[in-house]
């Protein structure tokens, strides 16, 4: 009998991974977590305010599941709360995004362009690419050539083609639908950043001796 009652009052919550809010928003429970509960409880739970974003907050706020449980059990002392999944939600406060300035973008573009041109020339000099190409040309045709352009021009375009193939991007068009190494890399980087802020911004997760 008791068990049946307990079951009826069980609330399952699962914290979302990452949530974006605007500054001065109030964050409700439905924003930070998925909830399963009895129907008559559900709406009240969803509208439970969890956090009010103020100007004092950083642009990253961590909502720990412990805090959410404390909140729910304060409002509904009889429910049994089961937390599933990630133990915290990262709230990203979207401060009005400055759009990228075009001159800065052009500068970065130019920097990368010149940089990669110089890098490839240095690489070629470093590995005596020209001597190797002259020799390959001689092996193929039997002719001596100081500038074997018949080999070198396709080689140069192949360079770019190889990079595009590797990154799986032909401008916006995909060659196949799997995520490119770059996207996986961006994802991994974001994961590491999240991991960092979870530990760094969550006051509860680290306890230090000097508490000032």
């Amino acid at each position: 009998m008791l068990e049946v009652n307990g079951m009826e009052n069980t609330v399952y919550i699962r914290m979302r991974n990452r949530v974006q809010v605007k500054s001065n928003d109030t964050v409700f429970l439905r924003d930070v977590a998925q909830i399963i509960s009895r129907d008559n409880l559900h709406e009240k739970l969803e509208c439970l305010p969890v956090h009010k974003v103020t100007t004092k907050d950083n642009n990253i706020i961590i909502i720990d599941v412990m805090m959410v449980i404390r909140l729910i059990s304060k409002a509904f002392p009889t429910v049994d709360i089961q937390a599933i999944g990630p133990p915290q939600t990262i709230i990203e406060v979207m401060i009005k995004r400055k759009s990228v300035s075009i001159p800065l973008f052009i500068l970065v573009w130019f920097l990368l362009f010149v940089g990669s041109a110089i890098t490839i020339m240095n690489f070629h000099e470093d590995v005596s690419m020209q001597a190797v190409q002259q020799r390959i040309y001689t092996i193929i045709t039997g002719k001596q050539e100081w500038k074997p352009l018949l080999f070198q021009i396709p080689y140069s375009f192949g360079l770019g083609l190889g990079m595009i193939l590797f990154f799986n991007h032909f401008f916006k068009k995909r060659i196949n639908e799997e995520p490119s190494p770059l996207e996986v890399e961006m994802f991994n980087y974001q994961q590491s950043l999240d991991q960092y802020v979870i530990l760094k911004e969550n006051k509860e997760s680290v306890r230090r001796l000097d508490d000032d």
Partner: protein, 140 residues
């Protein structure tokens, strides 16, 4: 005399072993072969690609030691040059990726959506730098 020959044989073998292992390790770290199998959906043929790399390395060694001459028409140099370029391009891309250049750059400059344009800067830069070098720079 026999000992000398044996010793030279051993030194040559050891050198080849070290260079070969290093070459393969380099390819593995940069992930060129996995990327190619992923693009062409031929994961099951990957051991054949390994042999292609091995035979390529042996052919290159033979070419650089023996100076064979095939007297083929110059047009043959075009596909070989293109293949060489694609391979080096993939190596360069793999290296860029291994060094985590783009994720950090995109975060810093806040242009996740326009990152393709930045990649194109590097791609076009590589092509332009290479063409410039072969057509003008070598004559200076």
């Amino acid at each position: 005399m026999t000992i000398n020959i044996l010793l030279v044989f051993l030194v040559g073998l050891a050198g080849g072993l070290a260079v070969g292992a290093g070459f393969v390790a380099f390819l593995v770290v940069l992930g060129v072969i996995p990327r190619l199998t992923q693009l062409t959906k031929t994961m099951h043929l990957v051991h054949l690609y390994e042999w292609s790399v091995v035979f390529g390395a042996i052919a290159g060694t033979f070419g650089s030691l023996q100076d064979p001459i095939f007297s083929a028409p110059g047009v043959i140099a075009i596909p070989i040059g293109l293949a060489a370029g694609i391979f080096v391009g993939m190596l360069a891309a793999g290296l860029t990726e291994a060094l985590n250049v783009f994720p950090i750059l995109a975060k810093r400059v806040r242009i996740e959506e326009r990152i393709v344009i930045l990649i194109m800067a590097i791609v076009i830069g590589k092509i332009a730098g290479s063409l410039f070098q072969w057509m003008y720079f070598v004559d200076l």
